[in-house]
């Protein structure tokens, strides 16, 4: 069971840390600019972390594989998003695919 106290502390640390990162720029206030390289590296790091979260959330459950229905749903959603289908439809299609497959007995 998750510990609510630890969870609350984690949320608060993330909140304080994030605010510190945000306010750092305006407080330094000088014309100082972060090198272009560093900025690009930061956005790449964001994409890498999120892509890894997509992959692990789509393909794994605990320490093992996630079955077929969930990855199939994510794949359908991904293809629709790639074809620039509206966001709401992407979500609905992904969920409907996974739910439909489970309805007919696919794990």
């Amino acid at each position: 069971m998750r510990n609510p106290g630890l969870l609350l502390i984690a949320v608060l640390i993330l909140a304080v840390g994030t605010f510190s990162l945000r306010v750092a720029g305006p407080l330094l206030r000088t014309r100082f600019e972060l090198p272009e390289r560093a900025q690009q590296l930061m956005s790449a790091a964001t994409v890498v972390l999120l892509a890894a979260l997509v992959a692990t959330a789509a393909l794994t459950a605990g320490h093992g594989a996630a079955g077929i229905a969930r990855p199939a749903g994510v794949l359908v959603g991904g293809i629709l998003a790639w074809r620039k289908v509206p966001f709401v439809l992407v979500i609905l299609a992904a969920a409907a695919t996974a739910a439909g497959l489970r309805l007919i007995g696919v794990p």
């Binding site: 502390i9 407080l27 956005s43 994409v47 999120l50 969930r70 998003a81 966001f87 969920a95 489970r102």
Partner: protein
């Protein structure tokens, strides 16, 4: 109230005001799904709601909830969230003048997102820059939090998320948000390597850590031509 809105509309101009409104609405929808999926995934109602009010940074919130809901440690979730939010240092340096001085730095910093920074930097006139930053920031804050609140309420009603396929909706939402950034070749390579590392590490490491290990992929990242504005918040 009306006259304030009219002044802002004048400062912004019609097309920009419309673009900002659309972005705010879209974020509201993302917030709705975020709230529903978080609570549907087994987290208590207050977790996504409090994160949205106090952290107010979508990418880090998704990471945090994703790691914790998968059984990962809240510490790993916090580290991942802070790493993702480190880009706000660069944003803050870029929009320091737009935010203004004195007490405005406090709310102005909290309202800093990918979207309103991009909107502000896209304007030439200082007045329009400022109007775009604040209107977009406040609009997103309101829409995002309303969306998350409503979604979390919705999620509490849902008892079996797997039957509804909500477990597939979460990665699909993130994938839709990340896709535009993957058009950059070097970023794509780094992300692919990261994905492989995270998947390979999953059977052996506690939940949450594989996502952090994905940062190894950055070794393959090469700074090249200017990358497009990021679509992830």
């Amino acid at each position: 109230m009306r006259s304030i809105w009219r002044t802002l509309r004048q400062d912004l101009g019609r097309p920009l005001a419309r673009d900002i409104a659309l972005v705010c609405l879209a974020d509201g929808v993302v917030g709705l799904s975020y709230g529903a999926i978080s609570v549907g995934g087994g987290l208590q109602f207050w977790v996504p709601v409090l994160l949205s009010l106090l952290v107010f940074a979508g990418a880090s919130q998704f990471l945090f909830v994703g790691i914790v809901a998968a059984g990962g440690s809240p510490i790993a979730a916090t580290i991942a969230g802070l790493l993702v939010n480190s880009r706000h240092v660069a944003f803050g340096l870029a929009v320091s003048d737009v935010i203004g001085g004195g007490w405005k730095k406090i709310p102005g910093s909290h309202l800093m997102t990918d979207e309103n920074v991009a909107f502000a930097l896209g304007q030439d006139d200082p007045r329009r820059k400022r109007a775009a930053y604040w209107v977009c920031g406040i609009g997103i804050f309101v829409c995002w939090n309303l969306g998350v609140f409503a979604g979390a309420r919705l999620g509490s009603v849902i008892t079996d998320t797997d039957v509804l396929g909500l477990d597939a909706a979460f990665p699909a939402v993130l994938l839709a948000l990340v896709l535009p950034s993957l058009r950059d070749r070097s970023t794509r390579t780094a992300a692919l390597v990261g994905v492989v590392v995270a998947l390979a590490a999953t059977p052996f490491l506690p939940a949450g850590l594989p996502v952090l290990f994905a940062l190894v992929g950055l070794v393959f990242y090469r700074v090249g031509r200017p990358v497009e504005e990021e679509a992830v918040r």
